[in-house]
């Protein structure tokens, strides 16, 4: 089953987007739940986004330096 990993709500209402700094996993990688997938940066700090599910990272949908909004799909994990 293809599971869409989205950028979760950070909480801070003023932070509704972030920039992709770098991917920490590649397409084809097997990831466990909570493994860091991608690093993002906001005005205040860097954040790593952990995988919400275990599975195989099959497709990245955003590139480094892309600006991403909360709720956007970052990648697909086959679970």
């Amino acid at each position: 089953m293809r599971y869409e990993v989205t950028l979760p709500e950070l909480g801070d209402d003023s932070v509704d987007r972030a920039t992709v700094t770098m991917w920490l996993a590649d397409e084809g990688d097997i990831v466990s739940e909570n493994d860091d997938l991608v690093e993002m940066v906001t005005d205040k700090a860097s954040f790593s986004v952990p995988s919400p599910k275990a599975g195989t990272l099959v497709e990245k949908l955003v590139d480094e330096d892309d600006e991403v909004a909360v709720g956007d799909v970052l990648c697909i994990i086959e679970i």
Binding site: L7, D12, K44, A45, S46
Partner: protein, 291 residues
């Protein structure tokens, strides 16, 4: 973007329904939080643990400190009177979120005769009434230096009385509102010391303070009767606040934590993401020997 940040200025941005549970309850109860108003980088982590620091007395501050993103009242703007129902709603949040430790802070209200001290006390009592096993921590403003305000809050018997010194004495003129004062904040802590409440303070680093200045501040806090201290890295909330002068290294924070303990603090926490209310429950458990 303000990056690149040093590698240690990094948090986790996780998902899961728990975050939404916390947000839903706080929104439903129309409560403000300092997590949101100060744009805290720990918020995602804390809210996923159902932890938040409520900010009472509105979300508009009568002061303007250069490091803080809480909105300041514009010249001539009238701030809302304290909401008499707010203490009850904070109690309800404590109950619905299952808090074992509640942290309550506020904006500074120089416009109120008691600086908001009575409202603080009623909020503490409301939490205690609904959740008798929940410990309560307050993080108060300086009440304009009126120590009767401290007394009012202490009468409600919070477990922890917190008031943040924020920075070293030399940087007060550049970082703080003119109504704040280093000596004034020490006098607030001194007034709170000696009773049953643990007296706690916090300072942020990264504004160019020296090692000696930090140690001198710790000594002043200790002398004022503070037994718990938190030291963290200042992170600029937005473009209107003061820029970060320095990212203090994690090992330097560790050295300050050790130094604070050696000086005689019963509890000390230092690290880039340490905030006075971050994992505040651990302090209470440690000092009071609970669990």
């Amino acid at each position: 973007m303000a990056g690149p940040f040093p590698e240690w200025i990094r948090r986790t941005w996780g998902s899961g329904s728990d975050f939404g549970v916390t947000k839903g309850i706080l929104d439903d109860l129309q409560l403000h939080t300092v997590c949101q108003s100060a744009r805290c980088p720990n918020m995602n982590e804390c809210w996923r643990r159902h932890t938040a620091t409520v900010m009472v007395l509105g979300n508009v501050c009568t002061r303007k400190c250069a490091f803080c993103s809480v909105r300041s009242a514009r010249a001539g703007e009238k701030t809302d009177p304290p909401d008499p129902d707010e203490p009850r709603r904070v109690g309800e949040a404590a109950s619905r979120l299952g808090w074992r430790h509640a942290v309550i802070t506020s904006v500074t209200r120089d416009d109120l005769p008691d600086g908001g001290a009575g409202h603080f006390a009623r909020t503490v009592e409301a939490v205690q009434a609904v959740s008798p096993d929940c410990t309560v921590e307050v993080l108060t403003p300086d009440f304009g230096g009126d120590l009767a305000g401290v007394e009012t809050v202490l009468k409600a018997e919070p477990d922890v009385f917190g008031h943040n010194i924020e920075t070293v004495e030399r940087l007060y003129p550049v970082l703080r509102d003119t109504a704040a004062g280093y000596g004034r904040s020490l006098s607030v802590l001194r007034a709170a010391a000696g009773g049953r409440a643990v007296v706690k303070s916090a300072l942020m680093l990264g504004h160019g303070e020296t090692n000696e200045e930090v140690r001198a501040t710790l000594a002043d806090l200790l002398q004022a009767g503070c037994s718990a201290v938190c030291i963290g890295q200042y992170l600029r909330p937005g473009k209107t606040e003061r820029a970060v002068a320095e990212y203090v290294k994690p090992e330097q924070f560790e050295a300050y934590e050790r130094a604070a303990r050696e000086m005689g603090f019963q509890y000390a926490a230092a690290g880039p993401f340490v905030r006075s209310s971050y994992r505040a429950e651990e302090l209470v458990r440690k000092i009071k020997g609970r669990d």
